[in-house]
């Protein structure tokens, strides 16, 4: 099915997949530990939070917007759930449901502000990000919550497997949730009408409103969905570190955006695929893990991320320039 492949994977994604293969070969030759099951599963779990957030950011990017307040949303929702669970003894479902509702509401505020103020979304979300964080710290006095209930902080393994070398491999909740988020997002964007409307809006907003797409509705879906996934990510993150901290997710914004852009999501909207974003995560995760195994300082990692983005973007820019030139030559 070459057509299906080209729909899921554009040119950027194909290049990325090739880069991943090359990196995997090099790393597995340099470090015997790299290509082991425990390393691989640990890697996936370590990147589960980033992946869930990137899935949400991807939807907003395709709609033609950008949202950097998701880290603040994740922190706020995580804190709300932890607070309800520890101070009022809320059971899992109502605590998480309320937190998710808060996430959707915070995302929707971004959508409403972007739509009604007619300001670019990056400005709106810089402002709301600042407001969300400040409110959270102000209301909580920056108090950390350590005594998370057991249902939250216990590492529950869906699958447990002991390898020949006596390493324990566990498929944990974060991994399962991450997979669910990826599958759900892929379904939403590729197989529902509203998902296709998100692409249409990102491709040509003026035309989208002319043909009768409910622009506000699509934006509410995109930003609200990101808010929801931010709440999910916040929940996983607190579970992994056994605490809820008001500034838990601060600084995650650029990493997550980097992953989505590396995966081929365009900052101008309309372009990108969930598959590409997953490849973006995989690529960064492998690079970081490989550099660790090779004993490169973790402080150097930022340099590598930056270079990867620059290379990826300049490749796209170069390809576009050539496509345009070919077009000029053909049109005349």
């Amino acid at each position: 099915m070459p057509r299906a492949f080209s729909v899921v994977f554009g040119r950027t994604e194909t290049a990325l997949a090739a880069a991943i293969l090359i990196a995997a070969v090099i790393l597995s030759l340099s470090s015997p530990y790299f290509l082991t099951l425990p390393n691989f599963v640990n890697l996936i779990e370590a990147y589960s939070v980033t992946t869930v957030l990137a899935a949400g950011v991807f939807v907003v990017l395709v709609s033609g917007g950008i949202d950097i307040s998701f880290a603040a949303t994740a922190s706020a929702t995580q804190y709300l759930a932890a607070y309800l669970a520890t101070s009022y003894g809320f059971p899992a479902v109502p605590a998480l449901a309320l937190a998710a509702a808060l996430g959707v509401a915070m995302g929707s505020i971004n959508a409403l502000l972007t739509y009604y103020l007619r300001v670019v979304s990056i400005i709106v979300t810089i402002a709301t990000s600042s407001i969300y964080y400040a409110l959270l710290i102000y209301l909580t006095n920056a108090t950390e919550i350590y005594n998370l209930p057991d249902w939250w902080s216990n590492r529950f393994a869906f699958v447990r497997y002991v390898t020949a070398s006596d390493d324990v491999v566990k498929i944990t909740l974060p991994i399962v949730v991450m997979v669910a988020a990826v599958v759900l997002t892929q379904y939403l964007m590729a197989h529902t009408r509203i998902g296709r409307q998100v692409y249409a809006l990102g491709g040509n907003p003026e035309a989208a409103s002319r043909i009768g797409i409910n622009v506000l509705g699509v934006q509410l879906l995109a930003y609200g969905y990101l808010g929801f996934l931010a709440a999910v990510a916040g929940f996983i993150q607190a579970g992994r570190v056994h605490q809820a901290v008001p500034t838990a997710m601060a600084g995650q914004e650029l990493n997550v955006l980097a992953v989505a852009i590396l995966g081929g999501a365009s900052l101008v909207g309309g372009i990108g695929s969930m598959g590409g974003v997953v490849l973006g995560v995989l690529f960064l995760a492998m690079l970081q893990n490989g550099l660790n195994l090779l004993g490169v300082s973790p402080y150097f990692f930022g340099v590598v991320i930056g270079l990867a983005i620059l290379i990826s973007i300049s490749m796209t820019g170069y390809a576009e320039k050539h496509a345009r030139r070919r077009h000029v030559a053909r049109a005349s």
Binding site: R3, H191, T192, R193, I194, R196, Q197, Y199, A200, G202, G203, N204, E206, A207, A208, R210, I211, G212, I213, G217, L221, G270, I271, A323, R325, R326, H327, V328, A329, R330, A331, S332
Partner: protein, 506 residues
């Protein structure tokens, strides 16, 4: 149901009839009591200058604007005070805007059948029905396009087919096409006309909305002219020619005379030899003489703007050379070009040529700040205003004062501010890229006068255009560019206008 009964009992009733349609925006009257009708399966031209109200009219019909109360829009005899976008669509009124409103990132199939993806947001798109709808629409036009190609990768003419198919897929009864031929070659225009004939045969009315109609008049039955928000009249297409239409559109008698001069002293100011940039232009050689107005005509994508950018130092030549006053010139940036005495007035004056929020004086002086400054590099507002005032007077710019923001001026006056900005640098060569795009016929004349005056003062002018009359009547010599190459040279008066259009659209 009612519509079906009415239409069968009164078959002579027009499909669409407007009565007393007016529209005010604030204090200005955009449309004044318009009476107009479109018959079933008719090909109709709606012409008028910018600001004549034609875009307002189609926006009212598309449901984008509501008309002022008091008028009616009757579709198959059923009167409406106003239409919503949804109503307009379900009544069979489809507007194809000049920008085509397509989604470049989506496939041909999805663009044509996008209507089937609206509603029931969380259900899957009806893949099968969409494919069928797209295929049917393409079949009606006997067009063969790859359904799975992304629209952004198609040439303009094919995108237009996609836009028409989208209208057909929702059962259009009347199709408004806004400036449909502006970026098509002659061959593509013929394909479009063929498409229109098919639509007509199927009972679909087509209304071309345009500021000119050379190409479409041959298949149009009627022409309606708008001027200043009023309907001048509806005419049988056979009764009117281009010249007559221009008069109806402007309300003035326009004298078209060839202004080509034979220059006595031919001092070559700018020489271009074998200039090439791969994929943009190839082996271009030309000579531009002092005081000459040289036309450079070609369709969109012929490489004319790319050549202009290279002559202005914005992009480097890959091979070939440029000589100015006989000496070789190497341009590493537009700074070099400006210093050497080459000025460039861009096609898109709004985004590239002017800072709209700044004053006339600030805009005119920006390119000569070095010269205006004192020994510390500070520029006295008084000197700046003197400079601006002198140009405002010389070019007859209509403005309250030189401190007025440029965005408060009309299009024609804005264009003159751009000209002043470059003239202040005292250029030897002035490159004008489509200087009259979006300028009314009346104001165009003013710009041509300025250009001629500059030439008389010895400035060598390269006038880039895609309008035959513009270069034919106002240039001394015309070069035709096609596919990145110079394809021919014409001397107006010696060669006739028709020969030039034939070459351009061939």
């Amino acid at each position: 149901m009612t519509t079906a009964v009415l239409s069968s009992t009164a078959p002579e009733m027009p499909f669409l009839a407007l009565s007393g349609i007016s529209k005010r925006f604030g204090g200005t009257v955009a449309l004044d009591a318009i009476e107009w009708s479109v018959e079933r399966g008719e090909v109709h031209c709606l012409v008028g200058e910018n600001g004549s109200g034609k875009s307002t009219l189609i926006k009212i019909l598309a449901g984008v604007h509501a008309p002022d109360t008091g008028g009616t829009i009757s579709v198959e005899g059923v009167p409406h005070a106003a239409l919503t976008p949804h109503q307009a669509k379900s009544l069979g009124i489809q507007v194809i805007f000049q920008d085509l409103s397509l989604f470049p990132n989506l496939t041909v199939l999805e663009n044509i059948a996008i209507d089937l993806e609206l509603g029931s947001p969380f259900r899957p798109p009806p893949q099968h029905a969409m494919r069928q709808a797209a295929q049917e629409a393409l079949a009606r036009l006997e067009a063969d396009l790859p359904l799975d190609a992304r629209v952004g990768t198609l040439p303009v003419a094919q995108r237009q087919i996609v836009a028409i198919c989208r209208g057909l897929a929702v059962n259009a009864r009347v199709l408004f096409m806004d400036e449909p031929t502006s970026s098509l070659t002659r061959h593509e225009v013929e394909l479009l006309l063929e498409t229109v004939r098919r639509l007509k045969a199927q009972g679909v009315a087509v209304v071309f909305v345009s500021h000119r109609l050379e190409e479409v008049v041959e298949i149009a039955e009627r022409v309606t002219v708008l001027r200043d928000g009023r309907k001048v009249g509806t005419f049988a297409a056979a009764e009117v020619n281009d010249h007559r239409l221009a008069e109806l559109m402007t309300g003035e008698t326009i004298e078209h005379t060839v202004n080509a001069r034979v220059l006595a002293e031919r001092h070559p100011t700018l020489e271009v030899r074998h200039a090439t940039r791969e994929g943009e232009f190839e082996d271009v050689s030309l000579v531009l003489h002092q005081g000459e107005i040289l036309g450079l005509i070609g369709l969109l994508g012929a490489g004319r703007t790319e050549l202009a950018l290279a002559l202005f130092g914005m992009t480097p030549l890959e091979s070939g050379e440029i000589r100015l006053d006989g000496a070789p010139l190497r341009l590493r940036s537009n700074q070099d070009a400006i210093t050497a005495g080459i000025a460039y007035v861009s096609e898109d004056r709004l985004s590239l040529g002017l800072n709209l929020r700044q004053s006339i004086a600030e805009n005119i002086s920006i390119s000569v700040l070095d010269r205006l400054g004192n020994s510390l590099g500070l520029v006295a507002p008084r000197r700046r205003n003197e400079l601006a005032t002198s140009w405002v007077t010389r070019l007859g710019i209509r403005a309250a004062n030189v401190g007025a923001p440029v965005q408060t001026l009309s299009g024609g006056n804005q264009q003159r501010v751009v000209l002043s900005k470059w003239l202040a640098t005292g250029p030897k060569v002035l490159i004008l890229d489509s200087p009259t795009v979006g300028v009314d016929i009346k104001n165009k004349q003013g710009i041509y006068d300025v250009v001629r005056e500059l030439a008389a003062q010895g400035v060598a002018i390269l006038l880039i255009s895609d309008e035959v009359p513009e270069v034919y009547f106002h240039c001394d010599r015309v070069l035709h560019m096609r596919g990145g190459r110079i394809a021919g040279e014409f001397v107006p008066g010696t060669a006739n206008e028709h020969a030039l259009s034939e070459a351009l659209y061939a």
